[in-house]
Symmetry: C2
Amino acid sequence: MQFTSEPRLNDGVVERDFLLGEIPGILWTPEPTSTPAPLILLGHPGGLARMRPRLAARARLAAADGFAAATIELPGAGDRPKLTAVDAARADLRRALEAGERVDDDIIDRLVLPLVEQAVPEWRAALDGLLSLPEIEGPVGYSGGVISIGVRLATVEPRITAAGLFAGSFIPRAILEEARLVTIPLHVLLQWDDEGNDRQAALELFDAFGSPEKSLHANMGGHTGVPAYAGEDAAAFFTRHLG
Amino acid sequence: MQFTSEPRLNDGVVERDFLLGEIPGILWTPEPTSTPAPLILLGHPGGLARMRPRLAARARLAAADGFAAATIELPGAGDRPKLTAVDAARADLRRALEAGERVDDDIIDRLVLPLVEQAVPEWRAALDGLLSLPEIEGPVGYSGGVISIGVRLATVEPRITAAGLFAGSFIPRAILEEARLVTIPLHVLLQWDDEGNDRQAALELFDAFGSPEKSLHANMGGHTGVPAYAGEDAAAFFTRHLG
């Protein structure tokens, strides 16, 4: 893990770009204090350049509660090499949605599973690098992004002790089964009136999670209209578990 | 409305019993200040004597945020005259549940609708009395209790500007239809693993509400195991809307 930019100070948060091998990433830390900060990994749908303003806003909220935040680019997104098979599945998905057809399980598997397979080891490697920095220590939370990546990370990565997930993407059956193995505290956001979201699948996933402590917060406002108070509730969740 | 007890000061809250005609009630107000307090009506399943400790705890939380709180006994409960037809429906419900049978819509109608018909005018009369006191003024919120009473109150009583509801009881089809007319901000709690609760009916009711701002918070812990943080989120909801 190599820093590739000078630290930039912005609203009390220090922002630094880094490379993990060939994978670009961003680290935000609260203004230097003597105590190392807990870490929240910020998930996203891919495309760091486009997502940077929203990720920076989430990182500033995390920093206000004393947390560092970090993210890396997803496989196939931004300037990373294309994933041809995933792109083909995405084209198939688009065709099915435009034709008003039921989306076949096979399309969802081809779209999501290779992404999970490749991304999860990358996030774990990023965690190795991040936790070796003097300004960061555990516990670690995972927040948002492609929910199937969050489920797999919560299942296989013991350093992640709490996760805030956003129910808003297609979920392979295999991931639904993995959800039963998740035992860490979960805070799941669902936009109830999100027309691009399969609400029933999201409820089924929430039900499947094995965690003794799990909360589902459903709100109105459409896909991108998550209300500000939902962010405050999620922040309280991470403060309870990482603070 | 007549006070029937001396004010008792307990943990910074003044508690007074009252009678509204023949109906017993309890009023909790924050320790006297110069500004009148907003009011939260505390719903409950009936039986004030049994419920008093839990109601007092909710009132203390409300008082900490600057709110007065009040409640009245439900029709047919505590020392109030029995409602024979409702009691017969309750016995039919118990028989159906014990036999593992599907609960007939007719039983739910006979159990819930007469209660709603009688209770709602009583709560509105209580509101008249409470709002005439110098230490209380609007806005008014309604919190918890039999959800069908909450739905009807939210539909017909314009002085109630926000409601926190607990999805945990049987819901007549007529009330589900009324829910579409509700437009005030709603905060709905659901115990996801409450075996005595029809989860699908609760989700259907949440979906039916016409309110542009509505949130569903589903948690684990069984019927009576609402986690403390769920109370904090509900308190934040009332502070946003009544504070």
